[in-house]
Assembly symmetry: C2
Homo-oligomer: 206 residues x 2
């Protein structure tokens, strides 16, 4: 027999796929159960409501993605600026396959739910800004090393990077073509390079 709680995980994985394909509102509980090969009884055993599943899906997304980013190779460069640029390169490299395979679940979901379902919105915000937070240290170190004392903060730049990525996804969906997203990420890389190259380096490295 399958492990206990198998249905819950299958439902959450199905939710990630369906939200990326159709969005949260258009995804029905029946769709979800069919995709997960589970009955409706199982769904309501694990989730009190569709909204509660929305929150759980955002948390599941956070768990899945943070595992990917923790193990990703962009942490290895010694210079903090190089880690930031490697992150951008990594995000660029992730844009492979069909659109629902690389777009952001919580970015999609929050657009539909922010006003009607504050708990889902907050779970999405935690996912996005939590991920942005993982970039702050590298950016702050790069700012120090390059003597950047600007009117912007490490937190603000990390957030802006997420904005560019989210916007790139929206445009890719509209054009039904990844290449616009890639172009935007290239602009983001250029921006970060310009931000740090416009100032002299404190330590001559590389």
């Amino acid at each position: 027999m399958a492990k206990p709680k198998a249905a819950r995980v299958k439902l959450l994985d199905a939710a990630l796929a369906l939200i990326r394909e159709r969005g949260f509102s258009a995804m029905t509980v029946d769709d979800l159960c069919a995709r997960a090969s589970v009955t409706k009884g199982a769904f309501f055993h694990y989730f009190k409501s569709k909204n509660e599943l929305g929150v759980a899906a955002a948390e599941h997304w956070s768990a899945v993605t943070s595992a990917i980013f923790e193990r990703a190779p962009y942490h290895t460069p010694k210079a903090p600026l190089d880690r930031v640029l490697a992150y951008i390169a990594f995000r660029r490299a992730l844009l492979r396959g069909a659109i629902p395979e690389f777009t952001c679940v919580v970015g999609t979901m929050v657009q539909e739910t922010y006003a009607q379902h504050p708990d889902i919105r907050d779970a999405c915000a935690a996912s996005i800004f939590g991920h942005a937070g993982t970039l702050e240290d590298d950016i702050a170190q790069a700012m120090k090393q390059h003597d950047v004392s600007a009117d912007w903060s490490a937190e603000g730049l990390a957030t802006h990077m997420q904005a560019v990525l989210q916007g790139a996804f929206v445009l890719a969906k509209a054009k039904n073509d990844v290449s616009v997203a890639i172009e935007s990420i290239d602009h983001l890389r250029r921006y970060v390079e310009l931000l740090f190259r416009s100032r002299p380096k404190r330590i001559a490295r590389r």
Copy 2:
């Protein structure tokens, strides 16, 4: 009695509001009719289906917004770069009031419909990229004047600017706070300044 076709316009205006508040999928035809103070008969007199209304709403949004942008004051500066920067300042200034009052209808709608309703997706794409197109000339002129011969194009930068704006909206919804969006637009302004200031000006103006 009210003018003929009044119901159509009322329905389209209601659609713009409801899509911004709840998204396209969560907006029902009954919602729409109630908001527009119109009966369902009127709705299906003007639109064959909800999807067709989606397409019409995107086109209506294009018409409404292009009228605003045409009359906006950012076209007056003589230097093309200043017009581009004035556009960014104008977009920044538009971020007033509650979130559904400044976010983008087609950016929201396309995220939910891109895979299921290609005609809506295409109408949204036409709106976004059509608007981006209105910026290309100014950017191209600025590139010429500042001797920028880069590995990016006027079209690409115009598109990137829309990506930043769309992403800013997503993040504002997630955080339920405009300020993240403003911060991102400030980063966009800084990027454009850096792009053109890193090259010498051909003509000393301003």
